[in-house]
């Protein structure tokens, strides 16, 4: 954190506690949010925000939250608020509700980080740019905490977290840059924001080898690895399907590779 800055990170109080207590608090918050959304078409801000002490750990992914009994910040459980909102609204229009919820809370530090990591909906260039820009806006306060993301015992700095979670965006969209993560993310976000379909295509093709490497059980590797094959298949995608891969996110590309692998197997 830059010296002289007084930024501190604030998180909603309903995200702190043991797993069970957070679950209960989040359920109440979900009902409250659903109520207001139903009446006014908008989500309420959290009633109480608490300052996170410098260096305190925030759990940002459920799969590494192995110790449910420890009281800790459980940012990943924002997904349960959304779930309770959906439930209260009887699962109608879940995409619109989700997008509205995200739009509201991208304006907060906690929402910016949560939605950047959650990658809900289509992981498009445009949506990712918005998410990254939100994190960048709140970079200083977010630097105050440490994060549990991939490994249960190893808390990371914001920078390390962003490399782990959004490294794919930097590799795809600002590959030539070195240096501070913040700068690389800024560059990637700008490019993603104004990317044309052809720009996205180029970024995807650049990232395909990385996705292929991650798919160790793909059966038709030789065909799948051919850029001509990839380009041909990508250009055939309809708009919603292309949108899902347009950000060039590794897991989305890998999903497509498995699809194509399956289709090749059927021939």
């Amino acid at each position: 954190m830059s010296p002289g800055k007084t930024a501190s990170l604030q998180l909603p109080s309903f995200l702190h506690g043991t797993y069970r207590s957070v679950q209960q608090k989040v359920k109440r918050e979900g009902l409250r949010c659903a109520e207001q959304y139903r009446k006014e078409g908008a989500f309420p801000s959290p009633r109480q925000l608490l300052e996170v002490p410098l260096g305190e750990v925030v759990v940002v992914q459920g799969v590494v939250d192995i110790q449910h009994e420890r009281p800790v910040w459980r940012l990943y459980m924002v997904s349960e608020v959304l779930r309770d909102v959906w439930e209260a609204l009887d699962w109608e229009d879940s995409s619109s509700v989700r997008d509205a919820y995200e739009a509201s809370f991208l304006e907060t530090a906690w929402g910016a980080l949560f939605f950047t990591l959650a990658r809900m909906g289509a992981v498009s260039a445009e949506r990712t740019a918005r998410r990254l820009e939100a994190v960048l806006r709140f970079w200083d306060p977010l630097e105050c905490a440490r994060y549990l993301f991939k490994k249960p015992g190893a808390a990371q700095t914001l920078e390390e977290l962003m490399v782990d979670s959004c490294g794919w965006a930097m590799d795809a969209w600002s590959p030539e840059l070195e240096g501070p993560v913040r700068a690389r993310l800024e560059s990637a976000a700008k490019r993603m924001e104004r990317a044309t379909r052809e720009d996205c295509l180029e970024a995807i093709l650049r990232q395909m080898p990385r996705a292929l490497a991650a798919g160790h059980d793909l059966k038709h590797r030789q065909v799948l690895a051919d850029p001509a094959f990839q380009r041909e298949r990508l250009t055939m995608l309809d708009t919603p399907s292309f949108e899902r891969v347009s950000g060039a996110c590794t897991s989305e590309l890998l999903e497509k590779l498995y699809d194509w692998d399956h289709e090749l197997g059927l021939q």
């Binding site: 679950q23 459920g62 799969v63 590494v64 009994e69």
Partner: protein, 300 residues
Amino acid sequence: MNGGPAVVAETTGPTAGGQASGPTVQGYNVPGRNPDSRMPWQLFLGGASHRLIAYMYSVHYPDTRAYYNKEPIAAIIGETSIGRASLLLPDERQLRPDITDITRRVLFEIKPWHEQGLLEGRAEASTYLTALNRTILIGRHFTGGTDFHGEILIRFARGQYIWRLEWRTSEPGVTLYRWTRSQQRLESEAAAYEAGQWTDLSVEELHQYGGWVEKAVQDMISRREKLATVSGAMGLVIDLVGETARVVLWGALMGQLGTSTGARQPPAQGGGQVIPFPTRPAPTAPPAQVPAAASMPLSH
């Protein structure tokens, strides 16, 4: 001495006495154990086992988008937009698969390693697949996952035995797990590993796991991740402080050591450590047939 305590696993939250509470908890009763029995010690730690195995799945498939540990299908569809959540029947929305891998379009149900677990797992996997596949708009349908197996050695605080969590996907979509322990009391995990004396475990299976871990480790290295190295061993260190698990095992250990059973107090310094262990070279022979689930006799 009348064997170990009957224990019931709890999925979440601290509980005095280690008893299950609430209708949502999955309980697996362990019958009182005959000390003369050669039956492996089977402990069903419910939530802790699920969380550990799910974590290991995420290690094995690091670039996959997957949902773990009881996220409802409606929410999974709602978050990913691969389908339409409103296509689910009302009683399907809250179904919660143990592992839902969106990228590879496979799912796994994690169950205890016995006949009942296998049957339940099979039925649940089938139900979950039907529900999920009802909603799909983008990409392939889901199928039952295969080829997911492994093990973790765990030493609990003050425990003199090394515990082993092992899992195998015995049929598509059904991953069975079991706990066993080292036959002897051992001071160190390295000794336990070298001794290789696990109840109900073959050396061949140890070799299989070594190869699997080596692969996972190599995957991690290829992503430039740092690994803890402890005197030449490579592996994972996880602090397992499941309070209920602690209570259950402490009671079980006390029973096994011949002191009064039913000790319910957790140890003053709780917790445990997942033990790193030396990698072995990958087996040159093809892996052995995944064992069918062992059936548990109803009384012994």
